[in-house]
């Protein structure tokens, strides 16, 4: 599969289905792994990093996971292509700006990706639509086991997997859920709930991960602790906490419907009206309005638009995807015009 094929294929994790998909956009697990006896990427030199890259690529090309997928060096990609992988959450921002020898492997369905020489030698990621941490774990555990047969991972019996950053030592695992919580935000309960979540040992982030602001009422909640617990314990703990958050969100939406339905419908209606009729729109405004539209759809106020189409809009309206579909680099103003056109057309099809 060429990079171009990847770019022109929908991500499975945006399909808008799976358990609790009215509230949970996607589930994600990543594992940090390093090769024994070789410096971490940022401590290594060209030679050692290149050695890691070649070694890992040889193994990845042999496994079944990427047979119909892509295994490629970042140096072979254009800035736009890398930006698209970022917008699809298949690589991280750090990986994009990294100047050392690095690469990425992406499965055909784009539910599995491996960054080579990001902060660690390998960052293995599984991303799925809906509330499906267990499914993510099943797949990533398989991948990890198979790779371990061919690669010698840095591992200490006392603490577990060794990683470049001490916060990842142990399982090397971070599991996270992207939640859409407009009900809690509108009912002004979000801070209370998030404080509880943090007290229970979780981390809360925005749409683009670490350090990103909360846009469109999208919250990423992940485990803080990677050490001293098994992967399954961490996941079951997350599942327990997140089930409570999902329930709180559902109650808030119900409460809004009962107590202030006009205000709710107004928010949803205006979002739809602007998206379906604007001729210039920024990606920030787009995310915020699509968030309201998604709530309208999930609550039955907007019909005829699928959850998958809405989730996809989050991604295809982003700068690199827009430029990719236009076939050329565009300035911000032209992108805002093109984005509005794309959204109008998609919503007209409903």
């Amino acid at each position: 599969m060429s990079l171009n094929n990847i770019l022109n294929t929908k991500c499975e994790w945006l399909s808008g289905d799976g358990p609790d998909c009215d509230i949970v956009l996607s589930s994600r697990i990543r594992l940090a792994r390093n090769l024994k006896g070789i410096p971490f990427p940022n401590a290594g030199d060209y030679r050692s990093n290149n050695e890691v890259l070649e070694k890992i690529f040889r193994v990845l090309r042999k496994t079944s996971f990427f047979k119909k997928g892509l295994v490629a060096k970042l140096s072979e990609m254009s800035d736009l292509e890398k930006q698209i992988l970022l917008e699809r959450h298949l690589i991280s921002k750090e990986h994009l700006i990294n100047r050392i020898e690095s690469g990425v492997a992406i499965s055909e369905k784009q539910d599995l990706s491996i960054m080579v020489n990001e902060e660690d030698h390998m960052r293995i990621q599984v991303l799925k639509s809906g509330f499906r941490l267990d499914d993510c774990w099943e797949l990533i555990d398989n991948v990890d086991s198979e790779l371990e047969q061919h690669l010698d991972f840095a591992y200490s019996p006392a603490v577990g997997y060794l990683t470049a950053c001490p916060t990842n030592v142990g399982t090397g695992m971070r599991a996270s859920i992207m939640l859409h919580l407009p009900g809690l935000v509108l009912m002004e309960l979000i801070n209370k709930v998030m404080q509880a979540v943090i007290k229970l040992g979780m981390t809360v982030r925005g749409f683009y991960g670490e350090g990103s602001e909360v846009l469109g009422n999208l919250f990423q909640i992940s485990n803080q602790v990677t050490l001293g617990k098994s992967e399954k314990e961490i996941i079951s703990n997350l599942n327990r906490v997140l089930n409570l958050v999902v329930e709180h969100e559902r109650n808030s939406r119900q409460l809004m419907r009962q107590k202030n339905e006009a205000r709710l419908q107004d928010r949803i209606g205006r979002a739809y009206g602007i998206l379906a009729n604007a001729h210039i729109i920024s990606s920030k405004e787009t995310i915020s309005l699509i968030s309201a539209l998604r709530m309208g759809m999930d609550m039955g106020y907007i019909n005829g638009i699928g959850g998958g189409s809405i989730n996809e809009l989050f991604i295809v309206t982003q700068p690199a995807h827009l430029q990719q579909s236009a076939g050329e680099l565009l300035d911000a103003e032209t992108r805002d015009i093109l984005r509005a056109k794309l959204i109008r057309e998609r919503l007209k099809q409903k």
Copy 2:
């Protein structure tokens, strides 16, 4: 014709036709007239004011102008009914809050109204759709001549008609035009043009006349001088100046279309999208969005909505009209919900 009939009939001046109706909403002329030898309303007492009211009402009831119209005392009307006449620009705010014996006469088409005992004994007003000061003058001159046959007006051969406020002495006439100038506003040329208009002896006001703020890019321009010039001179002077303003507005719209069409379409599209989908909307926001919608219609970006329907929306979405159509008094929040519903329904019919 009962007051209820009036309330349920469309105003002719909102029909959205007439010369330059893409820019000129309406033309209006009013004459101030007082009866000789009787104190002005605010200087008079119950007896003298009542005498004026009875005397004028007797004459008005005899004329042909109000045969199918209405001649009624304000004391016989509810607050809501008076508020509706205000929203239709058939009486003034001063007349509404006036506590002295007063009345109003309204023609069947609502293009002619006479306030009795506002600031002067009589304020005769003709209001027509489009740029038609000459037509307004023809009708009001007829009305004035007929009334003069039955009533003895306070008149001085040296200065002309005498009025309660010295600024009206002479012709007692004020002629005004309601203009929709979004092009000049968006191209930031409005201040320059309005300063020129003021230098040429005109007065500029907002949608609700004296002291009102400019809403929805609607500007009322009228003659400042009432003394030392004939009515026809004043009108022809106004026509000359206003033709220039209309031309400037048309050029600005053309320029916007050429230079920044996306921004123009964005403004119009968002206005339409919000109006057609909101569930709560204030009358202020309504006026501003209808203004953009009207521009879109006048410039051919929005089709299938008539100018008359748009102009009518300016009026029927106002508080008293909303309450009238609901058949009950409503609080502000309920009005905002009802207003949004009305607008959604009207725009769906397009």
